[in-house]
């Protein structure tokens, strides 16, 4: 059943394979994002309650859901690497962590910047906000652990264990925070009166969302290829590649 996967578990093959995918991903990301963002900023209607501040939505929500999606991806990669000892799965998890952290940070920042005009404060200890903040800490933990190990293979394994422990914990965190919140306060700040999204808001959102997803794919590909190179530096194919590409001083 796993046979078809086998060639891709070879670092050299996946290095070249991702190399071939990259231009396609990049083109898609560029097209989708430019259509989506122009649409979102210029043509999408303003919200009847929130006015033009609603345009933050088009970054905020994709960033927030991608931040969680990437963690999910990382957890799967970590599981694969622990169960099947796939070194490439480690490399891909390592490639995803910083991207996920950046998207989490974007979700937090855009959320805050939206919260100031809407709720009158940059920050409240709301369930969603708090669990997003904790997600950022989890990401930072994984990254810090990665950078603390010198041997990248070991770093991958250690970070994998942490990712898995964190992923078991993530639903608990989410649940606990939600519960804690409703228990303490009757919502003092009115949450977003959920507008039933009209089609002319939905389309640009879809473009933005897919565009950001493609951007994630592009960056993860770049980082994945870097990880492969760094982990296989003594392989002859890497050596050949290097002697062709190194900039000599």
């Amino acid at each position: 059943m796993w046979k078809w996967l086998h060639p891709y578990a070879n670092p050299e093959v996946s290095y070249h394979f991702t190399g071939r995918l990259l231009p396609w991903f990049s083109a898609l990301a560029a097209i989708l994002l430019s259509i989506g963002l122009v649409w979102a900023l210029l043509f999408a209607p303003a919200d009847y309650q929130q006015g033009d501040s609603f345009r933050i939505f088009y970054i905020h929500v994709p960033a927030a859901s991608l931040s969680m999606g990437i963690y999910f991806g990382m957890a799967i990669a970590a599981l694969c690497s622990l169960v099947w000892q796939l070194k490439l799965a480690d490399a891909s998890a390592a490639a995803m962590a910083p991207v996920g952290a950046v998207f989490t940070a974007i979700a937090l920042l855009t959320g805050s910047a939206w919260g100031k005009p809407m709720w009158g404060t940059w920050w409240i200890w709301d369930a969603r906000l708090t669990s997003e903040l904790i997600l950022l800490f989890l990401y930072l933990g994984v990254i810090a652990l990665h950078s603390a190990f010198e041997d990248k293979n070991l770093a991958g394994k250690a970070a994998g264990i942490l990712t898995l422990v964190g992923s078991i914990n993530l639903p608990i965190i989410k649940y606990s925070v939600e519960w804690w919140n409703t228990l303490h306060q009757g919502s003092t700040v009115s949450k977003l009166g959920k507008p039933s999204m009209s089609l002319d808001m939905l389309w640009p959102f879809l473009f933005c969302f897919l565009g950001f997803a493609m951007l994630v794919a592009v960056i993860v590909c770049y980082r994945f290829r870097n990880e492969i190179l760094a982990r296989n530096s003594i392989r002859p194919w890497v050596r050949e590649l290097v002697s062709a590409r190194a900039t000599h001083k």
Binding site: A46, D52, L109, T110, K116, Y222, V242, A246
Partner: protein, 81 residues
């Protein structure tokens, strides 16, 4: 088109600061991430190249020492003979 003029576009119905802050910071972070990911590639390649140079240097030093050792041995043999 929702906006009649450029300044209206910038103003964003009074929410300009927050909207442009969000878009600006997001763009900045993503661009930094993208560029640093791309730049790492060359950095890693240069590192590996440096590594290779170091190995070559070691190999040379090793050969030199081997030569010295063998010539010393020769001398010693000559001296005894």
């Amino acid at each position: 088109m929702q906006f009649n003029s450029f300044s209206e576009f910038i103003n964003m119905g009074g929410y300009g600061f927050y909207v442009w802050l969000s878009f600006g910071v997001s763009a900045l972070l993503l661009v930094i991430l993208l560029i640093s990911s791309k730049a790492d590639h060359q950095k890693i390649i240069n590192n590996i190249a440096k590594q290779k140079q170091r190995e070559d240097k070691l190999r040379q030093a090793r050969e030199l020492r081997k030569q010295q050792a063998s010539s010393a041995q020769d001398e010693a043999e000559q001296a005894t003979s």
